[in-house]
Symmetry: C2
Subunit: 259 residues, 2 copies
């Protein structure tokens, strides 16, 4: 009886929590289940079946499926149904997909991918920022670096996290490359995830704090080479500190898709 959504009821409670639109919850539900593997590759669903399973109407299901389709999670075929696509078809840069993967078994693999991407991008961003960033962003970066060092010394974990995110955000924005700047959100996820999961030491590494200051001052001075070097130092340390979380994750070598 697909009636109104009336708070706490229904034993087959599939659309968790409230305060978001129905189609959004449907996306969340299906996306999560696909990425955790509960709905495996090749699994076929029928729109009609989803209606009663999720207790929503056709329009909600259809809009949700459209979005999942644009994320590469499913494809629709007439006379067949809605087919779950293999992970190689998922859009690994979509922030929803990243979020879902971070809260699945593939968390380690997703973290590794993100760290590798950051390790490649941040030094380049540092270089670009040193060459191109507007004066105000350079000043801001220096201020944040100093505040970050202070917070590290005083052991204020919450403030340290905020400043850490701000630092890398400003750096990436300062590159003047909108793709780099957009990684900010993902970086924030990894950083917050790190503290939440207790991977941060009580007092951050003294060298790392100094490298942040060095990086900021190199950017301010327009010294691209030094900025890159400092960024590489930071990323090397970050990588080595986190690499323990994905030692058991096998690498996946995607097939070369020729369309």
């Amino acid at each position: 009886m697909p009636t109104l959504w009336n708070g706490a009821s229904q034993s087959q409670f599939r659309l968790e929590s409230m305060s978001t639109s129905l189609h959004h919850r449907a996306i969340e539900n299906l996306g999560t289940r696909i990425i955790t593997g509960e709905l495996p590759t090749g699994h076929i669903m029928l729109a009609e079946h989803l209606e009663e399973e999720l207790q929503v109407s056709r329009s909600v299901v259809r809009e949700a499926v459209r979005v999942l389709q644009s994320l590469g999670l499913v494809e629709t075929t007439k006379r067949v149904g809605i087919r779950v696509l293999p992970p190689s078809r998922w859009n690994p840069f979509d922030s929803q997909v990243i979020r879902w993967r971070l809260s699945s078994d593939a968390r380690g693999a997703q973290l590794r991918s993100l760290i590798e991407l950051r390790s490649a991008v941040e030094p380049a961003a540092a270089e670009l920022a040193a060459n191109n960033a507007p004066a105000q962003l350079r000043r801001e970066l220096v201020d944040i670096a100093h505040a970050l060092r202070d917070a590290g010394h005083s052991g204020d974990a919450q403030k340290f996290l905020e400043l850490d995110i701000a630092f890398h955000s400003v750096l990436l924005s300062g590159s003047g490359n909108e793709m780099f700047a957009n990684l900010m959100g993902q970086v924030a996820e990894t950083l917050t995830g790190r503290t939440v999961h207790g991977l941060m030491p009580d007092h951050p590494h003294e060298g790392a704090l100094q490298w942040h200051v060095d990086l900021a001052e190199a950017v301010a001075a327009g010294d691209a080479a030094t900025a890159r070097a400092a960024s590489e130092q930071i990323m090397r340390r970050t990588t080595s500190r986190l690499s323990g979380t994905w030692t058991d994750q096998p690498r996946v070598f995607l097939p070369v898709r020729r369309s």
Copy 2:
């Protein structure tokens, strides 16, 4: 009179070509117009208005708007309508967004972003591939590099393009990082765009051909440092060859979004 879509008719012909679904064409239409700026930031549309403008039904409009919403191009607000979001909210990694930008005035800026991203990522991918790629991919890479050199010498532009795409695809796949591997599609866009727009010389640079071979053989030998160095050479040259196309494009320094 929103009746069936009957081929060539309608003077206000907005949904171009056929053979794709209506909602897909609606996405294409709106996405293009938003990114070219024909529908500027803050512009407000009404679903009802879109229905008659595109000559499609409510459900088609709604599904298209949902997808555009997930791409960060629009937001919907009750009592207001469908609002076009500023470029800083667009998902710059989505392949549709990239494609739309490549065929807009911002083409130069998009190319620069992609090249900068490639320049950061490919050397890292080369390093990872040298350390982790399975034997078969290494062999394949060497074969392609040699074929690429031959094609370069013989001046077969079409074959050269195919092999060039294949080379970078295999390299990125060989990194074992699904985000790197996924850049493949975007790389293909830039490479094809380059030949189509007549930016390729008749005979590719001899040094570049050799660097591809060096890179492949370093990966095959597991020599990460050499592989990275060769990749950096290639990207430096690619950058310098293409930088002319975006000299006039201003860099955009996105605001740091703190949610």
